[in-house]
Symmetry: C2
DNA sequence: CAAAATATTTAAGCGCACTTAAATTTTATT
DNA sequence: AATAAAATTTAAGTGCGCTTAAATATTTTG
């Protein structure tokens, strides 16, 4: 892999940070598919630019400047994803990799225009929050994995937790996308697989039943609406 | 300037080639704003990859493979320009530099989709031809510079010959864009400046008179429609 | 047509983002 | 707490696309 830029390092640090614990070199190396040595090199450069706080052998976290840059990148990425999906009509399984390329080569003006065309969306097609021009993230709604829904309970898809093509393509086949309502019809305790009812959008109406494995269900997050 | 890629070299060679004469190193260096030494370096690499025929001290021309790559790049560039202008609504003076960034980071699928959305346009907003998926260029219509129109003659804008922001912004102010009809009302032989009538598009109707210098008129190409 | 001017290439070197291999620090184990 | 295992950093080196300065080839011109 080539030409992984500083921005990508910042994005990985941003996405893998959880309060209180630093992001380690190995995590970054894995996500970017580069050697640990390359990561150490880059971290030293980013630290010199005051973008991150780097504690050798321990890990890193973002400083103000780095945080701003990372958020701007995430914003660009998620706005492109949303645009590619909703306006251009690319399949969900393509938008992530396409956006990853485009995010590095779009002016702020273009991004702002795309956002305007989209009507200032709060979440991208995976359900991830889109930072505003000023870097503010919309509050996320509470969600639970589909796997934790009880039988006869229903929820609306809020977020998916995996970027692999296979995962996303399968969801598309099942008609599962953001905001789609899903009801659990049956749970088979043998393997914890579920029989679900995917409610169609207004135009087509109706609902379809599908069987999904526990692993899929654990990576689909829904907002619980009501019991029935 | 940094990170000027092979593709950019190929594009410059493509754009500056005229049958029978090779493209010289200096022309390339000027267009890309790099040193002659950098150009020589890169030409050797491109020649090794059989993308170009390089005759030291003389210049270069594209070979089959290089031609295909260059045309694909030009296609990506012009489709983005058209999309940014017509769909996204960016000002004409911005589309060239924006497209220059995007053209290197878009998949063929995306480009094909944009082309489809645009309805398979033949020309970009500057009037330059857009190569088809197979690399075929639409036949260009015959055009003459606005400066060569006679008084009372009228033509439709087919192409503009300058990419500078100032030039394009001024045209926008005058309401001059592709396919717009222009009539020469008066020619002042003192400085060869023209008084022109720019016909508005259907929705607004009417026409506006403007005075433009010879230099502007020489860079606007029109298709002669009729005498009056 | 030789000398001067111009264009082009070669040489040496730089910063970047990587690599592998060796050295060092941290963590886990008993 | 010593030692083995794992994680991380340092060291050395690579290819890329650039730079400036020097050498060489081509073109112009008086």
């Amino acid at each position: 892999m080539f030409n992984i830029s500083k921005e990508d390092y910042l994005r990985v640090i941003y996405k893998n940070y959880t309060a209180g614990s630093l992001v380690t070199a190995t995590v970054i190396a894995d996500k970017l598919n580069v050697s640990n040595a390359a990561v150490t090199d880059m971290l030293k450069k980013l630290a010199k630019e005051k973008l991150i706080k780097y504690i050798p052998y321990k890990g890193v976290e973002l400083l103000q400047k780095g945080m701003e840059l990372a958020i701007s990148l995430v914003r660009r990425h998620r706005i492109w994803e949303t645009y590619l999906y909703k306006i251009i009509g690319l399949p969900l399984s393509m938008v992530d990799s396409e956006a990853e390329n485009l995010e590095h080569s779009s002016s702020d003006e273009l991004i702002n225009r795309l956002e305007e065309i989209l009507g200032y969306p709060e979440f991208d097609p995976h359900g991830d929050p889109i930072p505003s021009k000023k870097g503010i993230l919309p509050k996320k709604k509470k969600s639970i994995p589909l796997s934790e829904l009880e039988v006869d309970e229903q929820g609306a898809v809020l977020r998916v937790n995996d970027d692999s093509d296979e995962f996303l393509e399968h969801l598309t086949k099942l008609g599962i996308e953001l905001n789609r309502k899903i009801k659990v019809v049956e749970r088979r305790s043998f393997d914890n697989s579920l029989l679900i009812e995917v409610h169609a959008d207004a135009p087509l109406r109706g609902k379809k039943e599908h069987s999904i494995s526990e692993k899929y269900a654990k990576n689909i997050f829904v907002e619980v609406k009501s019991k029935k």
